[in-house]
């Protein structure tokens, strides 16, 4: 009996919409947060070069102010939530009207968007400060800051959107900023290639975004609305057909795959490292690439129902995420470029987030987004700090032993690495553990109360944890330990400087952002301590989930929450630690000894195993070639479209369509000759006169009509027009 009651309760749909349009000033006016950097973009664009600090001061001031507003909005949201529960604030105005449908533009402020405001503004602010040193003597310094501002504005605009049309706008704008900043040093072809690749790959995903958006527009919310709340409410209320949701969620998933670097559309992300390092930290690690994850979180009912996440053990989204996190992690092992290691690591971590959303662990995914932003930005900026000193990103050739020269950077990098590896008690531990719990796969050893039993995904997550710890150990060893291998030749860095003397520690404008980010990499995890362990008072646990996850709101599906488990946390930690230990043994002991014995540089290492074992060698080759995906995209798809396909289309244009016109004219003239005897001679004369030569001309010559034969051409067309007009007249007369 009680079972039936419980069922009835869980089926009931909230009647009232949990959205309001009046709240604290900071929530209602949250649109100021994106507006400030937008204004700063315009300001820097037009007046930046004339400013004392060439525009940087305006960008920093605007983002700092935005950050303050975001903090205030954060506190306002806490108070707002404590007062009346999870009630989102929506303010909108009419943007345009077409076909009697009104389209709004507005903001949707809830825990999710406020959290994003905080993450974006703080990382952006630190990156701004860092950049004043890092790209300090760049010749396009002002321009760089203008686009940092524009990116920040676009990203904030995106996360605040209250409708999917507006999200689409923000989505594309951040893409353009990414394009411009990846191609910042466009003099070099690889950089502009990387920029194009990023934009075009994302365009492929955008096909899905456009179609998915349109499908939702017509299917959800009673039809014809882009409003996210209305669409979500309609789905939660069961008013949308499953078929429409499947189409929409699969199409949108394609967009997520490109923007958030999911396998197989991830290949642009490592190439995007051609951009300046601060850009990689801000755009290609902490914020823009999580836009796809954010979109899933924002439109969660679409995916939860469309992908049929509840009560299942496999679905498209979770599986894409699981594959991405493992395959991305594997690729990180064969990279020599420190930024590429981090890039593949980002791919892998984004895989974690998507997998978490795929198994129904909403809060875990969003929480991982939150912690990842800090420790990954920390790592990227740290790698930039090293590269700034050695003027290269190549770990094997130009780094090694850097801890002696850059002890402060070293410490922050270690903190970031530990957090990324998910070791207790740093930020990554908490969020990664929560994802593993959320799979519900631990149910093998007792029910965890998740949305399903995603055991496969749990195993992939575990394996990924070991991989992460291992490749970061490799990265730390190659960069900071062993002997310094740099300074040997004229290594060029991003600025074209030549290496000189021993590397030295970076200045305060680089170090302070690193301190702050590594501080956050330590503490961010405490925002969502798991409940039920009795280690801390209950009022301290799950704070993040409490304020961010829209539980009980009308636009969020009813999802189950898995119970945290001691055993899982311990096993996961052991696995991660195991990965680190194995890698540490290999690098810190074996490789270290080998390199000291032979005094060989590490350039040829570490492929001892892949040289002696054929299978391992093949695997290594596949990884070095990035699963041959780029070969396929660039040499097959792109080359075919640009080459044979485009040329064939143009050939058809010149030799078929244009020629058809000529042929038709020729035929018309011949037809005209047949009626020559019965129609007044003088009428036809004009045409035939000109066309006599045409009839004699071979088809070959017709194809190459040039200005000398214009008269022929004229005759043909006139004749054709006349004959067709005649045909029409005859038909009308009938």
């Amino acid at each position: 009996m009680s079972f039936l009651v419980a069922l009835a309760e869980s089926d009931s749909v909230p009647t009232g919409s949990t959205v309001t349009d009046s709240a604290n000033w900071f929530l209602e006016y949250a649109w100021l947060v994106p507006l400030l950097p937008a204004l700063s973009f315009v300001g820097i664009l037009f007046f930046g070069k004339r400013m004392r600090y060439k525009g940087a001061e305006l960008g920093i001031a605007a983002v700092a102010l935005s950050f303050l507003l975001a903090v205030c909005a954060g506190f306002a949201w806490l108070a707002h939530h404590d007062d009346g529960g999870y009630v989102a604030v929506q303010k909108s105005t009419q943007w345009l009207q077409s076909g009697s449908v009104e389209f709004g533009a507005g903001i949707l402020v809830d825990g999710l968007s406020v959290m994003m405001l905080l993450v974006v503004t703080i990382v952006s602010l630190l990156v701004h400060v860092y950049s004043t040193d890092y790209v300090g003597d760049d010749k396009r310094y002002t321009h760089f800051f203008a686009f940092l501002s524009l990116f920040t504005a676009a990203m904030l605009f995106f996360v605040l959107s209250d409708n999917i049309l507006q999200m689409l706008v923000g989505w594309e704008l951040v893409g353009v900023c990414s394009f411009v900043l990846i191609g910042h040093w466009w003099e070099e072809k690889p950089n502009s290639d990387a920029a194009l690749k990023a934009f075009l790959t994302n365009r492929v995903g955008d096909v899905g975004l456009i179609i998915g958006t349109i499908a939702l527009f017509f299917a959800a919310g009673g039809g014809r609305t882009f409003d996210t709340v209305k669409i979500n409410e309609a789905i939660v209320g069961g008013d949308v057909s499953q078929a429409a949701l499947v189409v929409a969620s699969v199409c949108l998933m394609a967009a997520v795959m490109s923007k958030s670097g999911q396998f197989i559309l991830h290949t642009w992300l490592p190439d995007a490292m051609a951009g300046p390092t601060p850009v990689s930290a801000l755009i290609h690690a902490a914020t823009m690439v999580v836009a796809g994850v954010f979109m899933i979180a924002r439109l969660y009912p679409v995916f939860f129902e469309g992908m049929q996440i509840g009560g299942s053990s496999i679905n498209l989204m979770a599986t894409i995420g699981a594959i991405t996190l493992v395959f991305g992690g594997l690729l990180a092992f064969v990279q020599d470029d420190i930024k590429k290691v981090l890039a593949y690591s980002t791919v892998s971590q984004l895989g974690y987030m998507v997998m978490a959303l795929g198994v129904g662990a909403w809060t875990a995914a969003v929480f991982h987004l939150f912690t990842h932003a800090f420790f990954k930005a920390n790592l990227f900026l740290g790698s930039g700090s090293v590269a700034h000193a050695v003027h290269s990103f190549d770990m094997k050739k130009d780094m090694g032993g850097m801890r002696k020269f850059m002890p402060k950077t070293y410490v922050t990098f270690i903190i970031g690495s530990l957090a990324l590896a998910g070791l207790f008690p740093l930020a990554g531990f908490w969020s990664k553990d929560e994802i593993l719990v959320g799979t519900g796969g631990w149910g093998l050893f007792g029910d965890t109360g998740g949305n399903g039993a995603y055991t496969f995904h749990l195993l992939m997550g575990m394996f990924g944890a070991a991989l992460t710890a291992a490749y970061m150990t490799r990265c730390v060893y190659l960069t900071f330990h062993g002997e310094y291998r740099g300074g040997h030749d004229h290594a060029h860095d991003e600025h074209g400087h030549e290496a000189h003397g021993d590397p030295h520690e970076s200045g305060p404008r680089i170090l302070v952002p690193l301190y702050i980010l590594s501080g956050l990499a330590i503490v961010a995890g405490f925002a969502n301590l798991p409940g039920g362990f009795q280690l801390v008072p209950d009022s301290w646990t799950e704070r993040f989930g409490h304020y961010v996850e829209p539980v009980g709101s009308s636009y969020f599906p009813k999802i189950a929450h898995a119970t945290p488990s001691w055993s899982l946390a311990v096993v996961a930690s052991v696995v991660a630690l195991g990965g680190a230990v194995v890698a540490a043994y290999y690098y810190f002991v074996k490789v270290d000894r080998l390199s000291k014995e032979t005094e060989a540089s590490l350039t040829g290492l570490p492929d001892g195993l892949s040289k002696s074992n054929r299978l391992a060698g093949a695997g290594h080759r596949v990884l070095v070639n990035k699963y041959y995906l780029d070969h396929f995209y660039e040499r097959v798809i792109v080359a075919f479209t640009k080459g044979p396909l485009a040329r064939a289309a143009y050939w058809v244009n010149q030799n078929v369509i244009d020629r058809t016109v000529d042929k038709a004219g020729e035929t018309a003239v011949l037809a005209g000759r047949h009626v020559y005897d019965i129609v007044d001679q003088s009428v036809i004369d004009g045409f035939v006169d000109g066309s006599g030569r045409v009839s004699d001309a071979t088809g070959e010559e017709l194809r190459h009509i040039n200005s000398g034969k214009v008269q022929n051409y004229a005759a043909i067309l006139f004749a054709m027009a006349a004959v067709l007009a005649g045909a029409f007249l005859i038909i009308f007369a009938l």
């Binding site: 009419q94 345009l96 009207q97 077409s98 076909g99 009697s100 689409l168 706008v169 594309e172 704008l173 353009v176 394009f179 466009w186 003099e187 070099e188 502009s192 290639d193 194009l196 934009f199 075009l200 365009r203 492929v204 955008d206 096909v207 456009i210 179609i211 349109i214 499908a215 527009f217 017509f218 299917a219 039809g223 014809r224 008013d239 057909s241 078929a243 429409a244 479209t641 640009k642 396909l645 485009a646 040329r647 143009y650 244009n653 369509i657 016109v661 009509i705 040039n706 200005s707 214009v710 051409y713 004229a714 067309l717 054709m720 027009a721 067709l724 007009a725 029409f728 007249l729 009308f732």
Partner: protein
Amino acid sequence: MDTIADNNWLLTVLVFAPLAGALVMALIPQHDEQSHKQVALLTSLVTLGLAAFLLIDFDYGSAGSLQYFVDTEWIEVIGAGYTIGVDGMSLPLIALTALIMPLVFVYSWNHIPEPGNAKAFLILSLILETGMIGTFVAQDLVLFFVFFEVVLLPMFFMIAVWGGENRRYASLKFFLFTLFGSALMLLSFLALFFLTEAETFNMLELTEIAGAGIPRGTQLLVFGGMFLGFGVKVPMFPFHTWLPDAHTEAPTQGSVILAAVLLKLGTYGFIRIAIPMLPEAAEAWAPWIGLLAVIGIIYGALGCLAQTDMKRLIAFSSVAHMGFVMLGIATLTDFGINAAIFGMVAHGLITGMLFFIAGSVKERYHTLEIKRLGGMLAQAPRLGWILGFVSMASLGLPGLAGFWGEFPAILAAYNPAGGLSEEVFRAYMVVAAIGTVLAAGYLLWLLQRTAMGEPPAEFADDPNIVDVSTTEWIAWAPLLLGIVLFGVAPGLIFEVTDPAVGESLHKCLEAGCQAADLAASSVGGG
């Protein structure tokens, strides 16, 4: 449809003001080039002022009605009237024309193409302006036809006299293609006159009749005639082959006018004449128009990828862009047609701007061969950035004008009007969406090859390669601003066109909208 006759002198003055300027110039001796330039610019500015007054005075509350309406007898013997008026559908296009022309004259200030003769060149441009505005205000088929043809000759001469090496071929091709279409169009107009038994060329009346009384088979034929007439002008695949040649050979000003305004005469004809007057035939033709539209999108984009000449590439991109406009029209929904009008204006601003840039590149590098160009961002950074910006607009970046022509057209294809097959149009939708990828491909590839990288050796120290000049800034700024303005506030255009589209097409939309709503609710509920 209601008509409002207040201030009805305005449109007549607006249409013939450029012609008056041309007459004044005819009296000025040919060698006094400066006076010619001044008079031409002044005339176009007066016209722009009148258009601005029109924009201010226009009653937006009744944008669905024909305003400033004049209806007097003209050629009594054939029943043709001097009937003119403007509603929300034509207003944006008139404004676009009035805006483009002064910019062309500013640009002409120090860019009279070879072989000179500013007098003839500028007079022709002014006659063009009268023809273009006239076409957009005409509410009588004969009057429409006359203005439609008035446009033809000046453009023919512009290409034939001031064009590039292959100008004779290109100009004749342009002329004959269009004339061929016009012949069939005229025939269809005559058919409408006789077959409706109303014996009128008045477009209002013919719209009210909406083909009643004409057998279905005949309607299809009559529509076919118009389809060829307007389709050649658009140009729709496969009638587009005149366009790349005309654009490549035309002087910069000619290309700008051609792209910005002339192509719109065709699409405007569809939504003002062909569809409202023959709704039943339109429905039968729509899937085929849609098919040619999406073929044009893909085909035009592939053509772009194959080009080695910058100007020819931009010309081919028009085929693709007009494909989106025609797709919007083919859905026969108010949504799609609004998108089409927006697309026309956006394409006018963006592609007009691209041709301006091509002209400036040619002037600096004396070539448009993409292989030889490069490093523009280094040598002429502002020019390079403007090219980048306009490329982004052209590929349909949200937040800039191009997006609002493309995305709503794709959206409309998801749910076409009542009698049209949803499956077919959804397939078109997917193809059109794929077209946006190719558009990004050819535009960014162009940008990479021309603007990025190091400057090629042959131009590295060329003193000719300078950044954007003052005249160029003046001519370009309004277009660049327009691209941003309409991208951020698309409502400025949609709100004007929406009532007019609803009103003008109500005969064929009545059925369509209901069915669309039903379809939407069945998807939602099922």
